[in-house]
Amino acid sequence: MSNSMIIGQYIPGDSFVHRLDPRSKIAIIFFFVIIVFFANSVMSYGLLALFAIGSAATSRIPLTYIMKGLKPVWFLVIFTFLLHLIVTKQGEVLVSILGWEIYEEGLIQGAAISLRFFLLIMVTSLLTFTTTPIEITDAIEELLGPLKKVNFPVHELALMMSISLRFIPTLMQETEKISKAQASRGVDFRTGSFKDRVKAVIPLLVPLFVSAFKRAEELAMAMEARGYQGGEGRTKLRELHLGKSDVYLYIMFILLVIGLFLTRS
């Protein structure tokens, strides 16, 4: 078991957001990403933020935890803010630090862009927090369904996705196990010169590759033994159903869109 975390790892729960059909979640997030770019007034940003915070609250995932998950992207948000602050040269001069002038427009743009960024990341990570990888894959397969007509290998793509998702934790466990075994044999992964550390990776990578290939082969064999032949005519164990809560979600979202266009300046 690893002490490190992946951004947006699924957190089991039974909230309103957890129970939504993954297709609805993906579709709504897709459109949310688009409408975020239409906001241009304080009120419209407020509405978007309200929607994002409201979703986060109904997901019943602790806010501190969401913030912790966002840690790696804070840098990006702050970087974007500073970039706009420094580069934009419109409007009135607010302050001048060490001969460098900060313009009013720069502050506004910086704040707006980083808020957009923040909202996007928050909503998308909410998807992965509340939806199992398998649900996401199923939903993508369904949503891309129409592309089958133009011979796009939708099923194969979904299968590849779910297999790789399935093996991420396994490979992480394996990595941890092997690195512990090698550490017990005196390998030091943490200190030493750059060259030493690169060298220390070899006893980790070789066994990892060997076992990954072995696993792949075993999986292929097991699938064949159970008569797997691809997507044609396959039925699903977990069927996706749109429910009442999905309808509520759509209504909320339509209200958001209407509100957004009313409050645009």
């Binding site: 078991m1 690893s2 002490n3 975390m5 957190i11 602790p62 935890y65 912790k68 394996e174 196990k177 092997i178 512990k180 075994a181 090698q182 550490a183 017990s184 044999r185 005196g186 390998v187 030091d188 070899i202 006893p203 070789v206 066994p207 060997v210 076992s211």
Partner: protein, 290 residues
């Protein structure tokens, strides 16, 4: 080396929804030269416990002492390297750690990391392969060309070549054929005696615990559930069954005989032949036919 755990707790992923307390105020002592079996159900904290023995994990609270080395919460031990040289760990399915081009190189990997001179490595390699019964012809082969059982023996040799004072074995015979299991277990027992090692064996096999260990620690849900000499532990069948653990077959058999025939028979570590003799005497009186 004397080993002691003093109120050791370990929590995985603290302060997250995945927080999991694997060890809860575990305390026990192991004397130098003892052969200790650690038994417990899957998820009872056995693997977490043994990772404290060579500093792979650091206690969340409490203190671990291995000989002169101390591991405490929030305190970096600067001698981890020395500790790891003294404590050899054979993990579950150790063959997964093989990576070198040849068997000999893989066995030499551990001692090389600890700066053992080339000649000494050579000597230890020969000694290790002799102990694990790997034919010397295999030394120049790739470890990936070997059978599963041979790979296991190579991996074990790699740990033995470190010449540790403490040997930690995490289910070292899982997945081997019965013959191989017996050979490996007997080999460890011989080494334990010859080199006066302190051995800690994590196992699911009550038979192995009874046959080799002189002290047993039973873990349940991260706590020490029972501790003591094998014969004492296995007398408490009910307490063991409460945590879904079995009593070795020999002892089950002796108990059944005692109950059903209403005779005086106690298991005190007899061999099967001795037990058979005792039984014949009981059943047929003193007219023993040799």
């Amino acid at each position: 080396m004397d080993i002691s755990f003093d109120k050791v707790s370990y929590t995985y992923q603290p302060n997250t929804p995945f927080e999991h307390r694997a060890l809860d105020e575990v305390s026990f002592k192991i004397n130098s030269g003892a052969y200790v079996a650690v038994i417990g159900h899957t998820g009872s904290g056995k693997s977490t416990l043994i990772q404290h023995l060579n500093g792979l994990l650091q206690p969340t609270s409490g203190e671990v002492k291995v000989g002169e080395y101390h591991l405490k919460a929030n305190e970096k031990n600067k001698q981890l390297r020395n500790l790891r040289e003294q404590v050899g760990v054979v993990f579950q399915y150790p063959e997964h750690q093989l990576f070198e081009e040849t068997v000999a190189k893989d066995i030499a990997f551990g001692p090389q990391n600890f700066g053992v001179p080339q000649e000494e490595i050579h000597r230890r390699t020969r000694e290790a392969v002799k102990a694990t019964q790997i034919h010397e012809d295999l030394l120049e082969r790739s470890p990936f060309d070997l059978s599963g059982g041979q790979m296991r023996r190579v991996a074990i040799s790699g740990v033995l070549a470190m010449d540790p004072r403490v040997l930690v074995l995490d289910e070292p015979t899982a997945g081997l054929d019965p013959n191989g299991q017996k050979e490996i277990m007997q080999m460890f027992h011989r080494l334990h005696k010859d080199k006066q090692l302190t051995t800690i064996l994590v196992t699911h096999s009550m038979e192995d615990a009874l046959a080799y260990a002189d002290h047993i620690v039973i873990l349940n849900q991260g706590e020490v559930y029972m501790e003591g000499a094998p014969l004492e532990i296995f007398k408490q069948q009910q307490a063991l069954e409460d945590v879904q653990l079995d009593v070795p077959e020999v002892i089950q058999f002796v108990t059944k005989v005692r109950e059903q025939l209403g005779v005086e028979l106690e298991y005190t570590g007899q061999s099967i032949a001795e037990l058979a003799k005792e039984l014949t005497r009981i059943v047929k009186g003193d007219r023993v036919y040799e």
